[in-house]
């Protein structure tokens, strides 16, 4: 109706400057992350078969439904179409054993979504990586079902981290880094597809979804701290490369530590954060009770994120 009163003038859209945009979106970034996770998912299916498909599908479905339900209860706009729930669900499945019970997957995935994301408002509020929260929840509640060696009895794969923990250096003497890269090790279903995750992580770096600081700093810290222990006594401590290529280290380096909301934003902060995380990974693996301490390292590193964010450059013109 209003159009008839102004027949000649087109209705213009007014907006605030700037009027251009680079074209990135949350949905686009999440799609890139999903594509980067695809090789690891294929690897998981290759090594663990339909069991892996079951866990991944169940975890993703639960995450999406829980997010939608929570948004409904919280009277917020339902934003499952940005795929963040899919990414979170898939990443949570990646740290479960392939033989995880269905109720464990559902409970863990729901806890990841509720405690790790929705409780903090919406996407953007969580101070701690949601996947690490879900993992801690499950590990503390059901340690037996989360134990990879206890749930994966019908497999010929060996868990190098448990071997190192309980049988010492001799047990991993014939370890081949190439085999580890290919995913030939027992562990969480997606996290041990080390080569595939490395590939995906590099894709994320190239597509600029994540920046180089956290991965590089974490790798550097793992190599340096691991190298110090290795040089103290190669008979007692493992090669630093062994730590890099086993367990969930690679998953944490490229997908869990650079998680947007829980990592620092400034360059200096990111580097300190990455160094801290790498240091904690080696420390927990060397002295901790858990063979694979990576998720605890992620949790603890997230704790110092606010401190890391205080490392910021001097603003323009400030004295």
């Amino acid at each position: 109706m209003a159009k008839q009163s102004l027949p000649t003038a087109p209705f213009l859209k007014v907006a605030s400057a700037p009027h251009m945009h680079c074209g990135t979106s949350i949905k686009g970034m999440m799609t890139t992350i999903l594509l980067a996770l695809l090789p690891a998912a294929v690897g998981a299916i290759y090594w663990y078969g339909m069991e892996a498909v079951r866990v991944m599908a169940l975890s993703i479905a639960t995450a999406v439904i829980v997010e939608a339900l929570c948004s409904k209860i919280m009277e917020k706009e339902i934003r499952i179409d940005d795929f963040h729930a899919v990414v979170t669900g898939l990443l949570f499945a990646f740290i479960l054993p392939a033989g995880a019970e269905w109720w464990l997957v559902v409970a863990g995935s729901a806890a990841t979504m509720v405690l790790g994301k929705m409780l903090w408002g919406n996407f953007g509020g969580a101070p701690i990586c949601a996947i690490a929260v879900g993992w801690a929840f499950c590990t503390v509640s059901w340690p037996l079902q989360m134990n990879i060696d206890a749930t994966m009895l019908n497999t010929t794969l060996v868990n190098p981290l448990s071997q190192l923990k309980y049988f010492g250096m001799d047990a991993i003497a014939d370890a081949s880094m190439k085999e580890y890269l290919m995913g030939n090790q027992l562990g969480a279903l997606g996290a041990v597809q080390v080569g595939a995750l490395l590939l995906g992580g590099i894709a994320l770096l190239v597509r600029k979804v994540i920046t180089w600081e956290i991965p590089v700093a974490t790798v550097a810290a793992v190599l340096i701290v691991g190298g110090i222990y290795y040089s103290i006594d190669p008979e007692l401590y493992a090669n630093p490369l062994f730590h890099l290529f086993t367990g969930s280290t690679m998953l944490a380096i490229f997908f869990l530590l650079p998680d947007f909301t829980s990592s620092p934003n400034t360059r200096g902060g990111k580097i300190v954060f990455g160094l801290m995380a790498g240091f904690l990974i080696i420390l927990i693996r060397t002295y901790g009770q858990y063979p694979d301490g990576v998720l605890f390292a992620v949790l603890l590193a997230n704790m110092i994120t606010p401190l890391c964010d205080m490392i910021k450059p001097k603003p323009f013109g400030a004295r």
Binding site: F11, V14, A17, P18, M20, T266
Partner: protein
């Protein structure tokens, strides 16, 4: 993603075209109190339309021949038409104004003469030691700078000369894009990497002086210099300026409606498009195609509807893209959150005033948060708060 759009050199795009005479001009007024024309008055190019009581803000003049159809506080509309021939026995009506000779004038007389010719002299006479001419294209997509240094060199030189007479600066530097071969007498030349946001005044100053401070430095951009030069060269009032219409540089009468300029450049505007007065990064979107261009309007752009995702109210998810690209090295993510919740003290703590308003944070934000708008809102609120505090302090003193 595409870094090339931020490159500010476009090569010589040829001499400026003179725009056709528009069917009407809508001369924008900016607090000009005294209108010297009435409705139905006949006007001709150069005639004074409105006077500003501040001695440092230029008066407004008409650029076309025609009849005044409307006078309001914010604009004067002149409809283009030939003036009626003088009646038998009458004196022939004037059709133009005489140029003012500026050569012999000095100091305040010169300033008053320029104000009368429509030049805003306040920025030109700012107290400073170093004068910097920012000869880069101000924003991506704007193409006039290099052509201006070739085809309107006479105007620019006249402007430089006049500027040196006005400005108290002892030294002047011209900031040129790397690779430019423009030459200036009595002025140093500095080369700036022609990549947005390097064309921002603050960054040009930092690049030339090596200090991140605007103290004792005055930056004049090329568009202002061209306007001053046009007046200095001819002694005629300022009635035309250069507008870059989607990359095509046109000399248009001040007050020409945006729609007329776009139509001349055969750019279609459809429902839902955004018409921007100024550059695409910092310009203002207009809701009315009849709006007239002002002295400062340097560009016109049309963004088709759907070219960018709409602004959203999504929460910041701390991806850090804004921090990575911010030339002021502040944290737009935190500042925008603080402004959202009206936490002005935290904004000050995060150095909101260091923001140069380049718009890169909003350009890169994947959540499409209106970061620049938040920062401008925050700055505005802080200014209001400070004004209130000053007012209270004055009351206490009394």
């Amino acid at each position: 993603m595409n870094k090339n759009i931020f490159i500010l050199t476009h090569g010589d795009t040829g001499a400026f075209e003179t725009g056709s005479v528009p069917f009407e001009v809508r001369i924008p007024l900016n607090g000009h109190g005294k209108k010297s024309v009435k409705k139905k008055a006949e006007v001709y190019p150069g005639l004074l339309v409105a006077d500003h009581k501040n001695a440092k803000i230029g008066d407004m003049h008409c650029g076309i021949t025609g009849v005044v159809t409307e006078v309001s506080d914010s604009y004067v509309i002149v409809k283009a038409q030939d003036l009626a021939a003088p009646a038998e026995g009458e004196e022939p009506k004037p059709t133009s104004v005489d140029p003012v000779s500026l050569d012999a004038l000095e100091g305040e007389e010169l300033q008053a003469a320029l104000k009368g010719l429509g030049v805003d002299i306040r920025p030109l006479i700012k107290r400073c030691e170093l004068l910097i001419i920012n000869a880069l294209n101000p924003e991506p997509g704007i193409t006039y700078a290099e052509s201006m240094l070739v085809h309107a060199k006479g105007t620019i030189n006249a402007g430089m000369e006049m500027l040196k007479r006005l400005s108290p600066a002892t030294r002047s530097v011209v900031a040129l894009p790397t690779g430019s071969n423009a030459a200036f007498d009595d002025s140093d030349i500095a080369f700036i990497n022609p990549q947005y946001p390097n064309s921002l005044n603050e960054l040009v100053v930092a690049n030339i002086t090596g200090k991140e401070s605007m103290k004792g430095v005055n930056v004049i951009d090329l568009h202002t210099l061209y306007n001053l030069g046009a007046v200095a060269e001819s002694g005629m009032p300022l009635t035309h300026t250069v507008v870059c219409v989607e990359g095509k540089n046109i000399v248009a009468a001040i007050g020409t409606p945006v729609g007329a300029l776009l139509k001349d450049a055969s750019i279609e505007v459809a429902d839902g498009d955004t018409v921007i007065m100024g550059g695409p990064m910092r310009g203002v979107a207009t809701g009315d195609l009849n709006k007239g261009i002002s002295k400062e309007t340097n560009a016109l752009f049309v963004m088709p509807s759907g070219a960018t995702a709409p602004i959203s109210d999504h929460a910041c998810f701390s991806c850090g893209a804004c921090i990575q690209h911010c030339p002021s090295r502040i944290q737009p993510n935190m500042i925008s959150r603080y402004v959202e919740f009206n936490e002005l003290d935290f904004c000050r703590q995060e150095n909101i005033s260091a923001c140069m308003e380049c718009g890169l944070c909003t350009y890169y934000c994947p959540a499409r948060r209106p970061m620049l708008q938040y920062i401008r809102l925050g700055k505005h609120k802080i200014a209001l708060e400070e004004a209130q505090v000053t007012a209270c302090a004055l009351q206490v003193e009394e």
